[in-house]
């Protein structure tokens, strides 16, 4: 069958899973600076599914698309180390403050400028946990979506056979192309970096990253087109500025409260028979147990 063009939507996120003691400030608020910026975990599951489709259909290409500040180019390099062919970074101050609706508009606008058969995204990002950008981008592209994907089992000219992971079971569906799928964390982990690719792509740079580079270095990149990470602004994708950022975001954050460790006066029970028995008796008497 003909080679497929696969786009992977990836996001760089703060690692909210490893909020250790140093990541909480003394007042109980989050110390964002102490959180490492990582490749969103389910987006790695998504990349793996894309690479597997590429393995199944020789000649297919995997292109990463990410939106974020300049440093998010790291996500594209990481994807290339693991087998992606190239990448696009959507970066512009005008994207800042976008909620999921505005973000999905930006992403769908960028995707529609590219050729694609399959768009693969992680189910959700760990900083927001909304799982909304994938389906919203599919709606804006006017293509069907399959969410909670555990495995793309089969690819042929008619489309994909996909296994979905549901709360209490599974579902197997057949989807035509083009389609957008969102991949669940129960899907296989992403393959590791390939040494050859690390050597090949470690100097891959966006134009912005080259601004402070020496002339020799820029020259070297320019002589090797595969080292260029494409960078797109709002103007580059021809998006409507009003539909982006705060003005394009119907949801507003009214209030943020940090979850602070409350100093609660717990009653300390000694681990001896007498105190444990009296606790149990108390719980029975006040009908908590029994």
């Amino acid at each position: 069958m003909k080679a497929l063009k696969i786009i992977v939507l990836a996001k760089q996120v703060p690692d909210t899973r490893n909020v250790g003691k140093d990541a909480m400030k003394a007042d109980g608020t989050v110390n964002r600076a102490a959180l490492e910026a990582i490749f969103n975990p389910e987006d790695l599951n998504a990349l793996e599914q894309a690479l597997r489709i590429k393995d199944m259909v020789p000649g297919s290409t995997v292109t990463l698309l990410t939106m974020g500040p300049g440093r998010a180019a790291e996500v594209i390099r990481e994807g290339m180390y693991r087998g992606a062919d190239n990448g696009y970074l959507l970066t512009d101050r005008k994207f800042a403050g976008s909620d999921t609706l505005a973000t999905s508009y930006a992403i769908a606008t960028a995707v529609s400028k590219m050729e694609y058969d399959i768009v693969v995204a992680g189910r959700q990002a760990i900083d927001g946990d909304t799982a909304q950008v994938g389906p919203q981008a599919a709606e804006k592209l006017g293509i069907p979506q399959v969410t909670y994907v555990e495995e793309v089992e089969k690819v042929d000219a008619k489309g994909l056979v996909i296994k979905r992971r549901l709360d209490n079971g599974m579902e197997r569906v057949k989807a035509p192309l083009p389609v957008l799928i969102t991949v669940h964390s129960s899907a296989p982990d992403c393959r590791p970096r390939i040494a050859k690719n690390v050597m090949k792509f470690k100097h891959a740079r966006t134009l912005t990253e080259l601004q402070d580079a020496t002339e020799d270095y820029s020259q070297m990149i320019n002589n090797r087109p595969y080292l260029k990470i494409n960078e797109w602004s709002v103007a580059d994708i021809g998006a409507d500025e009003e539909a982006l950022g705060l003005s394009g975001s119907p949801t507003k954050v009214k209030k943020i409260e940090n979850v602070v460790f409350k100093a609660n006066e717990a009653m300390v029970i000694q681990a001896n028979d007498k105190e444990i028995e009296s606790l149990i008796v108390e719980l029975i008497e006040n009908h908590t147990i029994g």
Binding site: T130, A131, Q136, T147, E171, T251, K254, I276, V281, I284
Partner: protein, 339 residues
């Protein structure tokens, strides 16, 4: 007009628990707004399900029946719900934060260009003053949810778009029937007029739905273990205590990841949210992601060798020591003192 609509899921021949929880919540919000609660239900054969919806406060039931809609499918459900929302102009619409609700609601929000908040754990009605435009928005839906891995709680509003859309986590709202039950009205919607042929391009080949074996959410008492329990064998002790107390056993993500306990017993941000009468935490340090899923328990007993474990700050009773010595004592004294 401008009522609250709850999108209701079905499983087989009953309405999903989360949808009934949402109807109950919608009822209390509708009281404040002085509007009515309506339900949307879509499927193949929905005969009689309206009674469950009336019993939980729906005064209008929007029904869309079609033989092709035996199981949930994104595109036809989107077309139908979007059509109903356009015609009925609700001010608030609620969905369960389930694989269905989280698949459907964003698609609808994108189609209507409306704001949507995912995975809310609390909903309130309140005003909002916008300084920039010197405008006060009355009676908005405050959509309250944990974010940033549970480290913050955000209140989100949609001042400018209607309807205000939210998905709500299962098990965080209480379900209650109305008393007396007021019989409402059914409004039928013609699926073949609304859904296009292209809406059925995704074909369901196979479905395997297991009845949930464990029901941690419904349990009044939970004995939970963390990584500190140390092994799958050690969890047996927790099961013994649960057995005598009539409790269920749960675990933290770390315990699940370590293979000590099954995934369907995971409590916390990425597992289920519980709020039992009594929560006995054994060897659980109490990472914020875990606490987010159990901190509303009425009473918490923490058993931990570390007196300064974070979970102790939200516990009512702290027993400092090794659970493997303490749990058998609890079993012994429960047997001795219970009648």
């Amino acid at each position: 007009m401008n009522n609250i609509i709850v999108y209701c899921e079905t499983n087989g021949n009953s309405v999903a628990e989360v949808s009934l929880e949402l109807l109950t919540k919608a009822r209390s919000l509708s009281g404040q707004l002085k509007v009515q609660v309506e339900a949307v239900i879509i499927g193949n054969d929905l005969k009689g399900l309206e009674d469950q919806l009336y019993a939980h406060g729906a005064s209008i039931v929007h029904k869309a029946e079609d033989s092709r809609l035996e199981f949930y499918q994104t595109l036809p459900h989107t077309s139908i719900v979007v059509e109903i929302f356009r015609k009925e102009e609700p001010q608030i619409c609620l969905f369960g934060a389930t694989p269905v609700g989280r698949d459907l609601a964003p698609r609808i929000a994108s189609s209507l260009k409306c704001g949507l908040t995912a995975d809310c754990t609390s909903l309130e009605i309140g005003d909002h003053y916008e300084k920039k435009t010197d405008t006060t928005f009355k009676d908005l839906l405050y959509q309250i949810r944990p974010a940033f891995g549970g480290n913050i709680v955000a209140t989100i509003i949609n001042p400018g778009t209607r309807p205000q859309l939210a998905t709500v986590r299962e098990g965080v709202m209480k379900r209650e029937e109305t008393n007396p039950v007021v019989k409402g009205k059914i409004k039928n919607w013609n699926v073949s007029e609304i859904a296009k042929k292209d809406d059925f391009v995704i074909e369901i080949i196979e479905r395997q739905i297991e009845e949930k074996r464990v029901n941690i959410k419904g349990s009044q008492i939970i004995v939970a273990g963390g990584y500190g329990v140390g092994s799958k064998e050690n969890f047996n002790l927790l099961f013994q205590l649960a057995d005598v107390l009539g409790a269920e056993v749960g675990g933290t993500r770390a315990a699940v990841d370590a293979g000590y306990i099954d995934h369907d017993r995971q409590i916390g941000q990425t597992g289920v949210t519980v709020r039992p009468k009594l929560y006995i935490a054994c060897g659980i340090s109490g990472q914020i992601q875990h606490r987010a899923g159990m901190m509303e328990s009425s009473m918490i007993i923490s058993i931990n060798t570390d007196a300064s474990a974070p979970i102790n700050s939200i516990a009512d009773y702290v027993i400092v020591g090794n659970f493997s010595e303490i749990v058998p004592k609890m079993i012994k004294y429960y047997k001795k003192n219970s009648k």
